[in-house]
Subunit: 271 residues, 2 copies
DNA sequence: CTCGATTTGGAATATATTTTCTATTCTGCT
DNA sequence: AGCAGAATAGAAAATATATTCCAAATCGAG
């Protein structure tokens, strides 16, 4: 029985559930009710668990799935699992293919990056914890001066934040390694260090963080994932995970977070 | 080996991950990194899927689970499934909720920027003409050397492209105004100028474009809308219209285009 | 360069889970 | 009450998934 006709979106699923629920025999109705009240569990449970929760036999639950239009429980579960992860079917490999074939027209490449950017943004929203963000904003707003460091791939982000702060009259200083000048003595008590670094993490940035910490300077870190070496230090960490293409990532999500952070700090200061 | 000693909370899990990540061989580190960036998937994926995502064999992923202190993948998964209960991060609903309810909080601000970024990306794809893009890629790929200029708000984009080109062994030079040095004589016949500018357009950039054109240098421009002053010159123009929120724009779309352009040039060159 | 130790990939095995099948129990009707 | 039809429970078969094992490859020290 290869019914392709099952609901393909959560919304459609809910509609079908409603439509069907009325005309269901006892046990199957139990299933319907349990499912309606526990949609989120479908993704992470086995039929046995769902059946037990609904107070029925696994086989009954099975029939329920079929009545809903799926070939079985697995297919129904797939719907929920996919909608949970936001369905980004591993970009890394997709982009790699594109590169290998090199047949990708520039537009196709752009399309991939646009798509990657969009999912990264969605993901950003899921992974940033509001309280960390709030904390970061507070610390930066209270700073005498904000020192920004971000090298290589992170430099665009650092420079954009410096620009934004400047525009909002927030005292900020962009540390760079132009001419191998080392400005670390500019950091004074009451200041805050905003460190931005992504794999591969630049040693200079990490060193600066270490030096700052040793002197009791607060550190706010913008980094990728939690394996970042910055995690070792007691910094307020905001982590962004961005899809990348070999050594490149579009930075969409990172910049988005950066600008939101800047503006939040700017507005809070001027209160 | 029935170690009951695995992490029992997500926090403990993250700590252990950090602790362990450093001293891990290649494949296992891939696992650690993938897991760090996709914690949410553990609950709804199979080992096979996780392994593929991390780019390793299932058995390697298995060993990773054991190193993390679990008896196997299932036990690790259990941790995530249990802590999964309720409130999954459905993007759309969460966004709406935040916008309405948490007005003024940093998270709400972030939500606005994320939304702005997403629509910008969508627009980007509509407004970029494939042939202009193609042309730009070709011209840049044929260049002896690419000179990049972008100041103020455009500087992050310029610097990122410089970084990307550098990584791909494409001869490129970032023109900046550090120390008021003027490098315009570095531009030689056969080179191409890549100018990036957005309203308010910096005079320096426009001047440089003018000077280049006068000497017969090809110019590729990245700008906003079609009213940009760069339009006057015979440049290949790629225009991005970025949705902005307040006085700032997240640059998501611009950077996306920038990176796509860079990678396209990089791959075409190496053919 | 060689040896020993560690790490890896892939197939083989064990386990868990889904799905189907059938005897049995309900339900509604005459 | 007795019958026909649908619904159900439970067990058995099929499938998918996790886990282990071992030979081959890789790495590092001497």
């Amino acid at each position: 029985m290869s019914e392709g006709g099952g609901p393909t979106t959560i919304k459609a699923f809910e509609e079908r559930l409603l439509e069907v629920a009325e005309r269901l025999p006892k046990r199957l109705r139990q299933c319907a009710e349990y499912v309606a009240a526990n949609k989120d569990r479908i993704a992470v449970s086995t039929v046995a668990e769902m059946a037990e929760g609904a107070g029925v036999q696994p086989s009954a639950f099975m029939r329920f799935c079929q009545i809903m239009g799926f070939s079985g429980f697995s297919e129904m579960q797939k719907l929920f699992r996919e909608s949970f992860v936001g369905g980004w079917p591993d970009y890394t490999t997709r982009l790699q293919h594109l590169r290998e074939k090199a047949e990708g027209s520039p537009s196709a490449l752009l399309a991939e990056f646009v798509e990657a950017g969009r999912t990264s943004l969605e993901n950003l929203f899921k992974t940033i914890e509001p309280q960390s963000l709030e904390q970061a904003v507070q610390v930066l707003a209270d700073a005498q001066m904000i020192h920004i460091i971000g090298l290589r791939r992170s430099f665009p982000v650092a420079s954009y934040m410096a620009y934004a702060f400047e525009k909002m009259d927030v005292p900020a200083m962009l540390h760079s390694t132009v001419g191998r000048l080392d400005n670390r003595n500019a950091i004074r008590s009451g200041d805050v260090l905003l460190a931005i670094t992504f794999s591969p993490y630049s040693a200079e940035t990490i060193e600066l963080v270490e030096a700052a910490q040793a002197r009791g300077i607060q550190v706010v870190a913008l980094t990728d994932t939690i394996v970042s070496p910055l995690r070792k230090y007691e910094a307020i960490t905001l982590s962004v995970s961005e899809v990348d293409f070999g050594a490149f990532r579009s930075l969409s999500a990172t910049l988005c977070l950066a600008i939101a952070l800047s503006v939040a700090v700017g507005t809070r200061r001027s209160l």
